[in-house]
Amino acid sequence: MSVIKEVLRNIISRPVTLKYPQERKELPERFRGRITIDYDNCIGCGLCARVCPALAITMVNPPGKKDIRSRRPLVHLYKCIFCGQCALVCPRKVISFTHEYELASYDKEGSVVAPPFVKKGNKGGRELSKG
């Protein structure tokens, strides 16, 4: 019978659910959302791509360059499992996670984190579909 009391109490109290998307929950600081890479400080070592358990990172070359040194990581967000291992191993600590969690997108451009030299509007481009 104690349940009845509980139920009555809950009828008058505020609902615990939030009216998403008008109301949003505050995210904790350690939350792992969309990845960002500070490409200016990335040295192109490729450790992040080697350690990624989901094979979500490919190293891409800027147009016209073939050497290993100038490769930069490109993250396929639809493959990423947000484990954070890449940020952990990066020697320059240039990978971090934002609090952005609505990651659905209409095109491939929105579903990758790409270095600046990967052309915009390159929807079916080789770099984007690789890996």
Binding site: R32, P53, A54, F82
Partner: protein, 393 residues
């Protein structure tokens, strides 16, 4: 009356894994149950052989979503034996805290599912609301609600700050009060008593003989718990009681789990107060020496077993997992004998399987040659209706 066979399954997308049972029925009574497993084979063990030790850690986390931290703890404890490294003491305490939070969330989730199975949806909503507090706590500590990625070989990734500890203590106070209330409900409420008491009894001798694990065997009065029998992490330093109930029915298993939540709350409090300082991780090499190791962990559902063999390369040579649900299946089949059809959902739920629900039931009445398909929801509704009509036996 002729024996009628009902195949149940194998498609059960509503809960985690598909399983198929063939029930032999004599009227309303189940006289035999025959399981058929293997529909959810994902090839994880083989896949791990093609991943490095670090990558396989995240793979093991994905074996089960609910007890993900039990899997990673078991993985890192086993891998640390292969690598010959030991996690720092503070990391071990953090592992205990996260594991116990995980146990609370798993047991609360299970209590909600059980309440749903017996038609007590009010309780289902309340337990899941309270479980959300634990998930928020875990999200604050680890960065994610479900797949925490906190364990790593040689330690843990995140520390627990004093502010987090304060927050956790507050949540523990709230949860203790709520759990005591749920215990009162389970003991006093007529719905729980009518549906769970003396249903699906597992005798202690059967439980031992069929090698049941976890709350399933503890509900039959057998005192066994990997945390006490073969301590890992910091469990040898954190005091706790192994909860047992002697009745062996579904109600006893429920009470075992509720009491375990209370134990876990006390363990978290103790661990937060007595956490040693210092490092939270040590460096480990890429390649372990050749060798092999086994590890055992008390997951929320019972004993979880890992085996890792290394041949000195970056990838495990062999990786083997035995989850608690598999160990409980023979005991479950024993428990299903002699019960009513209407009790099937409750008894299957009482072992907290990762395969709890029967989404499609095909009924074949051989004497009439009739065939029809039941979903899990219909079976649940049938069981609720049957009890409305028949009341308490």
């Amino acid at each position: 009356m002729p024996i009628v066979e009902i195949p149940v399954g194998p498609q059960h997308p509503a809960l985690k894994e598909p399983i198929r049972f063939i029930f032999q029925l004599d009227g309303e009574i189940v006289v035999g149950a025959e399981p058929r497993l293997g529909y959810a084979h994902r090839g994880i063990e083989k896949l791990a052989e093609h991943r490095t030790y670090v990558q396989a850690l995240y793979l093991s986390e994905r074996i089960c979503g609910i007890c993900s931290v039990a899997h990673t703890t078991c993985y890192v404890e086993t891998a640390e034996r292969v690598f010959n490294v030991e996690a720092p003491p503070r990391a071990k305490y953090i592992r205990v805290i996260v594991s116990e939070l995980n146990r609370i969330h798993s047991h609360l989730l299970w209590l909600g599912i059980l309440a749903h199975e017996v038609g007590f949806d009010t309780l289902f909503m309340y337990t899941w609301r309270d479980r959300e507090m634990v998930l928020d706590l875990l999200e604050m500590i680890t960065g994610n609600r479900v797949l925490y990625a906190i364990n790593m070989i040689g330690g843990v990734r995140h520390d627990i700050t004093p502010e987090m500890a304060d927050k956790a203590r507050k949540v523990m106070d709230y949860l203790e009060e709520r759990t005591k209330y749920y215990k009162r409900v389970a003991e006093e409420d007529p719905v729980f008593n009518n549906r769970l008491a003396e249903v699906g009894i597992l005798s202690p001798s059967d439980a031992r003989r069929l090698c049941a694990v976890g709350p399933t065997i503890r509900g039959s009065g057998v005192k066994t718990d990997i945390r006490r029998d073969d301590p890992y992490s910091a469990y040898d330093e954190v005091p706790f009681n192994v909860i047992t109930y002697d009745e062996g029915d579904a109600l006893a298993k429920t009470l075992v789990r509720i009491d375990e939540i209370l134990e876990s709350i006390n363990m978290i409090r103790y661990a937060l107060d007595h956490m040693p300082g210092g490092e939270i991780s040590v460096r480990v090499p890429m390649r372990p020496p050749p060798g092999e190791a086994v590890g055992r962990v008390e997951a929320p559902r019972g004993e979880l077993f890992y085996y890792i063999k290394s041949d000195g390369t970056m990838r495990p040579y062999r990786f083997k997992v035995r989850t608690p649900t598999l160990a409980n299946i023979p005991a479950l089949c024993r428990m299903l004998e002699g019960i009513f059809v209407a009790d099937i959902p409750v008894v299957v739920a009482s072992i907290d399987p990762c395969i709890a629900c029967m989404d499609r039931v095909l009924l074949i009445d051989k004497s009439r040659g009739k065939k029809w398909v039941w979903t899990k929801e219909e079976l649940r509704r049938y069981s609720l209706k049957w009890y409305e009509e028949h009341g308490r036996r």
